[in-house]
């Protein structure tokens, strides 16, 4: 969730004397450590003891605040989704000419995945478990992506201006944009191994982004 209100102290939030007990801080330390642990080892591979250790927190606290390993995973997922949704909304795509808006979305998606590899890994884990944590989460269900509406608006504008082809399904397009980036990055280890070339270099990255833009714009733009 978002930054919780600090407890009322006489001090300013910054430069506060280091309190020995701070539940918000502990929660956040746990969440951050859990995010990395789950992303690095998957849900089953993750170790609660390691999370506690790397958060510098007693293991019991994890159960005190989050109840169980599964509930902790749910909390991590919720935070991860909240983060990317928030970032998406900073894009202001509706204010851009349609082709630029699409390109911007592609570049954002690509860069976000590169900067947040743990997001990809968490989604993989959640899918392995058939999204059962998401199903149980009230938060994310309501967080029903407004991005599709935004995309629909952009596609409509582009179509009216005669620059986009007709009949594009915004959800399909969104999944394609995500998929073109996701697969390359999430499967980079097996792909690198099979193709015998390192896909994670700076050069390889910019080539891939360029290719993705070509594919998406090649599809969206009318001939």
């Amino acid at each position: 969730m978002d930054q919780p209100s600090l407890p009322m102290t006489t001090n300013t939030p910054e430069q506060a004397e280091p309190r020995q007990r701070d539940s918000d801080r502990s929660r956040q330390l746990i969440l951050d450590a859990a995010r990395d642990e789950f992303a690095g080892h998957g849900l089953s591979g993750a170790r609660v003891d390691r999370i506690a250790a790397s958060a510098s927190v007693n293991k019991r606290l994890i159960y005190y605040y989050f109840g169980s390993k599964d509930d902790l995973f749910t909390a991590v997922l919720e935070a991860a989704y909240a983060a990317i949704r928030t970032a998406e909304q900073q894009l202001h795509l509706t204010e851009l000419p349609p082709p630029y808006a699409i390109r911007r979305l592609v570049e954002f998606t690509w860069n976000y995945y590169i900067e947040h590899p743990e997001f990809l890994s968490l989604l993989n884990s959640e899918n392995l478990h058939k999204a059962r944590h998401l199903e149980h989460s009230k938060q994310i269900q309501t967080m029903n992506t407004p991005l599709i509406q935004t995309l629909e608006e952009i596609l409509g504008r582009g179509r009216q201006a005669g620059v986009f082809r007709a009949g594009i399904d915004p959800m399909q397009l969104y999944i394609s944009i995500a998929g073109l980036a996701y697969f390359y990055l999430s499967n980079n280890h097996t792909l690198s191994s099979i193709f015998g070339s390192n896909l994670m270099t700076h050069k390889a990255h910019s080539e891939r982004l360029s290719h993705i833009c070509d594919v998406i714009l090649g599809y969206v733009l009318s001939d």
Copy 2:
């Protein structure tokens, strides 16, 4: 590996009296059970006892034949790669006109992923572990996909005939074809949950395949 030669018996292979001991059969039972277990629960979530039970085999046999859980996983991966590579080679893409060849590859990839969801899951697991099993496998390293060469040939022919655009990188194209199918199918649970619609219906599948063909051909075909 491939079908091992049967031990010399006086009987025909089919209708053979059920031998009480059959190492090849046991190996295969273990491999099949392991494939499903690893795909269903990931490497860490998989249980050797469950594999033994569902293969109807004593747990000790797994270690007798495969050495360790990790080595078993490697064997499963090798078998999975061998299977898709074999299937790919049945396509005879070089005998088709370039646009048909591309479409055929797209349809094959899509259908193969649908029919072999465990393949996607195994790859996810392997990537979570940074492809360390693939790296240690001699088999797969040499299995260096001839599909890229095939694609290159098709792209060259299409270019010369003036129907394909210039400058297409076959590896990028392959990753895109795979990615457009993979992401939708592998992440269908989270996507279904977020979009609030079931992506695994027959109708949704055919819509997705049609979209992927549009995207890939929209990119590949010259205007």
